[in-house]
């Protein structure tokens, strides 16, 4: 079976939702589940927003092909490997698109999880965050620039 991953879309109003747990075993009560299906075409990053209504609660969830997600992780991890080897960490584009904004400049000190820049594709913004703390040694992208998967965007020391 093909694997997928599910995340809540940034458009949902609840930032405090817990990560997903498996549903308990047992039947779904009749009439309580509506899956509307994709509410838009898949993004160029392979993610698809799907609307699901459970017991009247409406969710917009993003479904992503697991293989694609793994590829994306490797794109980040390869930079991570480089980082471990040579002391520098290259942050690479994980989706093709247009650089929407750049939040750091060379010399900035960043913490793990801090937003570095955002790449926009199909009107969806995808933020790239620092996988670890460090100092920005190079910013290879500027707002408006078109990037391809694997392009180096930011280098952390």
């Amino acid at each position: 079976m093909r694997k997928v991953r599910v995340s809540s879309a940034p458009s949902t109003a609840h930032a405090d939702d817990p990560t997903f747990a498996l549903p308990s075993d047992g039947p779904v009560p009749a009439g309580h589940l509506v899956v509307q299906g994709p509410i838009g075409p898949p993004g160029s990053d392979g993610k698809r927003p799907i609307e699901v209504v459970v017991d009247g609660w409406r969710f917009v969830l993003v479904v992503e092909d697991d293989a694609r997600a793994a590829l994306r992780e490797r794109a980040t991890r390869s930079g991570d490997d480089v980082g471990r080897g040579g002391g520098a960490l290259e942050i690479r584009a994980i989706i093709p698109g247009r650089v929407a904004s750049v939040a750091v400049t060379p010399g900035d000190t960043v913490e793990a999880g801090q937003t570095l820049l955002a790449v926009e594709a199909m009107k969806m913004q995808n933020e790239l965050r620092a996988p670890r703390g460090g100092t920005v040694s190079r910013v290879a992208a500027s707002p408006g620039a078109t990037v391809e998967v694997g392009d180096v965007l930011v280098v952390l020391e």
Binding site: H14, T19, P23, A30, G31, V54, D55
Partner: protein, 529 residues
């Protein structure tokens, strides 16, 4: 008045083959506009709709014979523009204006202007609206008619006057704490403050008065004892232009949130025959004293000592009039039109009033609103996707929403009333439970989770009504927890949908869903990590 040529000797008033009016304008929108249009169709009355830019393609516009644009989306530029509405009625040759509820329905100045323009206002006379719109005047009228009013003051309280602090403090002590500071022009909980001790009184008077002035243009406030816990029970009244008034049963509207009704049912559970008879008689006395005619509603509090306290009169058709129609078999809008056209109270209405003293049927309604019940019922406007409403025996749905319609952010978030009727309360709730389970709405968040939880609550199901109170929501339901539970199921369903690659997967496909299997369990990952 009707503009119809009648054969000599035929009374326009008594011949039901001739409509009460030739053409009326409906000064409202949404479900109530559509509901009134339907009765007009049944009676052969032509309909003129009005609309704002937000409602240009709305259901009530397409259902009407003619429609007139009022202005931009904000109500102040459209549905509250009395001048434009009256101009529209005159330009389209309407004989009368039905105000619906909300908007201009209880503005005496509007009712007066309609009459001065040579049109008929379908509602109580302007003077009666005036007298009852001021809650202080209503309290005095009711008290004079020997109707028990909630203990409190009968004149505007002095605000920001150091010299009068002593008097108002003494009045407050006499009423007892906790008490409420309420706006004379108020409604919906605005201009209201709860006061627990005399020390809080001056600040509460100032705050309530300024809020009332901002909301209603009138800063007059008064004191009233807080009757709590209490049930909110109201009586549907219908009167003609000749002073005859009948009570068409009562409705229990105790399930509220911040003074907004969420559930309404009739008859009120657990009342004895004597209590019911006394309640109806009090409401009729108050209405007669106020000079009310047409449709109106007298609201009472019912306390734990089984005493009724008069609260106020709403001089218009209520949102929840449909449950009364379900148990009485009356069309209240049709009765309104005939009364406005000068007919005396119908035999149907008189018979229904007699039957209402010994109810044999029960109806209950919940309101479906575009609100998020996990976030304090915050407004959730947007574009509706799927819109599937229930039907079948004992079910009535009043709505003006169609699939793909936009719920504008400019107006009330109520988008549908779902009603059920049966021989008794438990059966009616069972029908309502089934009806709510048939509902499918996508695109916007609604109050459906709350509505479904309510009709399953053991205490709400209690037949004696003891568990009903205006505090019900706060005491009984945790929307955030309910939403978290649903999210787990949603994630699993989304994951399966992603695997299946189906463009649309609906509940009809459910038997084939393997989403509980181990294979799928492995497919659901945690993200972001």
């Amino acid at each position: 008045m009707t503009g119809i040529d009648a054969a000599p000797g035929v009374s326009l008033r008594k011949d039901t083959r001739i409509p009460p009016f030739r053409r009326i304008l409906i000064a409202n929108r949404g479900e109530i506009a559509l509901r009134i249009i339907r009765t007009c169709r049944d009676l052969g009355v032509e309909v003129v709709a009005v609309y704002s830019d937000a409602d240009a393609g709305a259901a009530h516009v397409s259902a009407a014979d003619a429609a007139v644009r009022l202005g931009e989306a904000p109500a102040g530029e459209s549905y509250l523009r009395a001048d434009r509405i009256i101009d529209a009625a005159l330009a389209t040759g309407a004989d009368a204006i039905h105000p619906g509820y909300g908007f201009l329905s209880e503005r005496a100045s509007f009712a007066r202007a309609v009459v001065e323009a040579g049109l008929v206002f379908i509602g109580p006379p302007a003077d009666a609206i005036d007298a009852l719109g001021d809650k202080l005047a209503a309290r005095r009228t009711a008290a004079a008619a020997d109707v028990p009013v909630v203990p409190g003051t009968f004149d505007p309280a002095p605000v920001d006057r150091a010299d009068a602090i002593g008097d108002i403090a003494a009045a407050a002590e006499g009423i007892g704490f906790p008490l409420l500071v309420k706006a004379a022009a108020g409604g919906g909980g605005r201009g209201m403050r709860r006061v627990e001790t005399g020390l809080e009184l001056p600040a509460a008077l100032t705050a309530a008065s300024s809020e009332a002035r901002a909301a209603f243009g009138d800063g007059a406030v008064y004191l009233e004892r807080e009757v709590r816990p209490a049930r909110h029970i109201e009586v549907q009244l219908l009167g003609d232009a000749y002073g005859d008034v009948v009570a068409l049963g009562e409705r229990d509207c105790s399930v509220q949130r911040r003074h907004q009704k969420l559930v309404e049912e009739t008859p009120a559970p657990g009342l004895t025959a004597d209590e019911r008879r006394a309640l109806h008689a009090m409401a009729v006395r108050a209405a007669r004293a106020a000079g009310l005619s047409n449709a109106s509603t007298a609201e009472f509090l019912f306390d734990r000592h089984r005493r009724f306290w008069f609260l106020e009169v709403n001089a218009r058709l209520q949102v929840e009039h449909g449950v009364t129609e379900l148990v009485t078999d009356l069309d209240l809008v049709a009765e309104q039109l005939w009364i406005a056209a000068g007919r005396p109270l119908s035999d149907r209405a008189r018979e229904a009033a007699a039957r209402a003293l010994a109810p044999t049927r029960h109806a209950i309604e919940v309101r479906l609103a575009a609100e998020d019940p996990s976030r304090e019922f915050a407004p959730a406007p947007g574009r509706v996707g799927t819109w599937a409403m229930p039907s079948g025996p004992g079910v009535r749905v009043d709505t003006a929403i169609r699939p793909g319609d936009r719920v504008p952010p400019d107006y009330d978030p109520m988008i549908a009333k779902v009603m059920a009727v049966a021989g008794a309360r438990r059966e009616a709730i069972a029908v309502l439970r089934r009806a709510l389970d048939e509902i499918e709405v996508t695109g916007i968040q609604t109050t459906l989770p709350f509505d479904r939880a309510l009709v399953r609550d053991e205490q709400f199901l209690g037949d004696d009504g003891e568990e009903l109170s205006t505090d019900w929501v706060a005491e009984h339901w945790d929307g955030r927890a309910d939403r978290r539970r649903a999210l787990d199921v949603a994630a699993a369903a989304a994951a399966h949908s992603g695997i299946a690659h189906k463009p649309s997967l609906r509940k009809d496909d459910r038997p084939n869903w393997p989403w509980r299997t181990a294979g799928l369990a492995a497919a659901i990952d945690r993200w972001p990590r």
